[in-house]
């Protein structure tokens, strides 16, 4: 592949990664008009995007690749920047979207065009969020991804989905406003929204603007990502969503948000310095801190807040997950805890802890996507995602049980699953960096997580079926006190058992399982890539 490194394709790759998924949004409609089925066209398009997302890994590619659609440059126009961080996360997003689209939902068979159009919009937003080098665009991409996601959460159109979507939309809209407030403060302080120039000027800005912008942007991202204390919407938001959509939300969307968060943290605010001494939760180290110099104390205060948020996310996430009787809610709370793990790694500062956080973000995406698929399969066969209803399910389908065990092991952190590696390094490196509180919380988190996964697995392998064994179509009534109107199920709902779809669903689950196992086998490679990205990020701070 000589010459690919500096070909026109590579120069325009950042633009293509946004433009190709976006162009499929109208294209699907026209293709269907000429008789191409939406599902096939969509999967082909996602395959193409997946291929594109691997292009930066081709030997001889020089990073970062900067593209400026329209040719105005970053200051006046739009800049999309493909750096090491984006290169690491792009395949994760593309693969997550691809397997989720492959898995699909029962309703995606009924309305494939709307489903895949929305998935492509979400894909555009996620890729754009990762690549953009401009706060204005970041806001636009985050909202594009958001609106597509809300519509997908309500895709079934039943009461549960609508309730979830409304709560999620409300939380995300307020999160968007917080991000917008952060952008206003950055603009007031610097007069630009182009991240490199804004970062330069923020260095001399009054600390009050810097701290205000940092807190607002971080809270906006945390609200959208569902960290404690802004987590309340998340379980409700995921519980009513179709499984494939819940997977999209926990995999690609969280990854893109995390990537954007890193861009803000290191590109705009100069990141967290390595902690000196063993001041764990509150920080309070004095001295000079890179770019912000005088604002060092502000940053230590922020770091303290970050740790409080992270540790309380871990504890609250796991404890709440223990208390749930429905799998999707349990998985949503577990996601909150895992976001906490990642934030500990980021907050600890230093290349190694950051690299551990990056690898955990990647492995978490796939294990959570995989678990949601298992959940979707159970819902298909049992009609509900109640844990009690899983009885005997894994006995009937041992491969599903095997996948569930693998994903659980990965989430708890037991070898040979990729989650073990990333968690192990995360604990070690956070402790090394002096973040003892965080390290202890992560280690204890595994112990808290074990019982609630074990509960499902044991239940799944128990003999017999639950008493109400007849699968209820789309368990729309969880609480008998408030019966759903019958009109809620749209006319002509697909038949309950769609055997044709089982094949691809199994493939989607097995792909995730293979990635988890492969992630363990190739953990050294993954971590070294993450480490070079982390070095680049930390090195970008003067």
């Amino acid at each position: 592949m000589a010459g690919l490194g500096d070909s026109l394709l590579m120069q325009q790759l950042p633009s293509l990664l946004v433009a190709v998924p976006l162009s499929f949004v109208p294209l699907l409609y026209f293709l269907e008009k000429v008789g191409v089925p939406a599902r096939g066209a969509a999967l082909a398009g996602m395959g193409l995007c997946l291929l594109l997302s691997f292009l930066p890994w081709v030997e001889g590619t020089e990073l970062p690749i900067s593209a400026s659609p329209g040719g105005w440059g970053g200051l006046l126009g739009i800049e999309l920047l493909l750096d090491g961080r984006a290169r690491l996360f792009l395949p994760v997003i593309s693969a997550g979207v691809f397997v989720s689209a492959l898995f699909g939902t029962r309703w995606s068979q009924r309305w494939p065009l709307s489903f895949y159009t929305l998935v492509f919009l979400l894909f555009t937003g996620a890729n754009g969020l990762l690549l953009t080098n401009d706060l204005f665009n970041a806001f636009v991409f985050v909202e594009i991804a958001g609106i597509a996601t809300h519509a997908l959460v309500a895709f079934r159109g039943d009461g549960d989905g609508l309730e979830s979507a409304f709560k999620y939309l409300m939380a995300a809209a307020v999160g968007g406003i917080l991000i917008l407030w952060g952008i206003v403060l950055v603009f007031t302080a610097t007069g630009t929204l182009w991240i490199p120039l804004a970062a330069e000027r923020l260095a001399d800005a009054p600390p009050v603007f810097v701290a205000g912008a940092a807190v607002l942007l971080a809270s906006g991202i945390a609200l959208k990502g569902g960290l404690v204390p802004m987590h309340a919407w998340k379980a409700d938001g995921l519980a009513g969503a179709p499984s494939a959509v819940a997977a999209l939300l926990s995999g690609p969307i969280l990854t893109a948000l995390f990537g954007f968060g890193l861009r803000i943290l290191y590109g705009l605010f100069g990141g967290f310095p390595v902690m000196e001494g063993a001041s764990a939760v509150t920080g309070g180290v004095e001295g000079s801190f890179g770019v912000l110099g005088s604002a060092g104390e502000v940053r230590e205060l922020l770091r303290g807040m970050v740790f409080v948020v992270a540790v309380s996310s871990i504890v609250a996430g796991h404890v709440m997950a223990l208390a749930q009787s429905r799998m999707k809610r349990m998985l949503a709370y577990s996601s909150i805890a895992h976001m906490g793990y990642i934030v500990v790694g980021v907050g600890a500062g230093g290349e190694a802890a950051l690299a551990a956080a990056l690898t955990h973000a990647i492995t978490h995406a796939f294990m959570k996507v995989g678990w949601f698929f298992v959940c979707g399969e159970l819902r298909r066969t049992r009609g509900t995602d109640r844990i009690a209803a899983a009885r005997g399910a894994f006995r009937e389908a041992p491969w599903l049980g095997g996948a569930a065990i693998l994903f659980s092991m990965s989430l708890v952190g037991i070898p040979p699953a990729a989650g073990f590696g990333s968690k192990w390094v995360l604990v070690l490196e956070s402790a090394n960096a002096g973040a003892w509180g965080g390290a202890v919380a992560i280690a204890a988190g595994g112990a808290l997580a074990l019982p609630y996964y074990l509960r499902i697995v044991v239940r799944g392998f128990e003999p017999g079926r639950p008493r109400a064994a007849t699968p209820v179509p789309w368990d729309s009534s969880e609480s008998p006190s408030c019966p759903e109107p019958a009109a809620e199920l749209p006319e002509g709902a697909p038949p309950h058992d769609t055997t044709g779809a089982l094949g691809v669903r199994a493939v989607a689950i097995l792909v995730c399982a293979a990635l988890i196992l492969g992630g363990f086998a190739g953990y050294g490679l993954l971590f070294s890539e993450a480490f070079s990205v982390a070095t680049e990020l930390v090195g970008s701070v003067l």
């Binding site: 204005f136 806001f139 636009v140 909202e143 609106i147 809300h150 519509a151 309500a154 159109g157 039943d158 009461g159 549960d160 609508l162 309730e163 979507a165 409304f166 939309l169 409300m170 809209a173 307020v174 968007g176 406003i177 917008l180 407030w181 952008i183 206003v184 603009f187 007031t188 007069g191 630009t192 929204l193 379980a235 409700d236 519980a239 709440m320 208390a323 749930q324 809610r329 969880e478 609480s479 408030c482 759903e484 109107p485 009109a487 809620e488």
Partner: protein, 112 residues
């Protein structure tokens, strides 16, 4: 001038946040979101305000140019808020049809 605008912005934000935290009626929550949005829009436009500034048209002004960026951000934010509001209202209509109420305590199924 600045003080008046900032007071308005903070006042609107306060009203909206109070409303978001206390109201139980879905339409009112949507309205609170819109008030919050208007407050931030006002702040954005004010962030780009230059005393005696002129429109950034090449060759058209003698005084200081005003950056067009905040206005572009404000316009985009209006479009996004309008689509979010449309989506919210669509949900409220559907929620009313399936659950028969638009009050949170009647609509809510899940707690915790």
């Amino acid at each position: 001038m600045g003080a008046i605008i900032m007071t308005t912005v903070l006042g609107l934000t306060g009203i909206a946040i109070y409303g978001l935290l206390t109201r139980r009626h879905l339409i009112r929550l949507v309205i609170c979101f819109n008030v919050l949005e208007i407050a931030v829009l006002l702040a954005i436009v004010y962030a780009g305000f230059v005393e005696g500034g002129q429109a950034p048209i090449v060759g058209g002004a003698e005084a200081a140019y005003v950056s067009a960026l905040p206005h572009a951000v404000a316009l985009t934010a209006i479009v996004i808020a309008a689509s979010s509001t449309a989506l919210m209202l669509a949900y409220v209509v559907r929620i009313y049809r399936t659950r028969g109420s638009v009050r949170i305590e009647r609509v809510r199924r899940w707690r915790g």
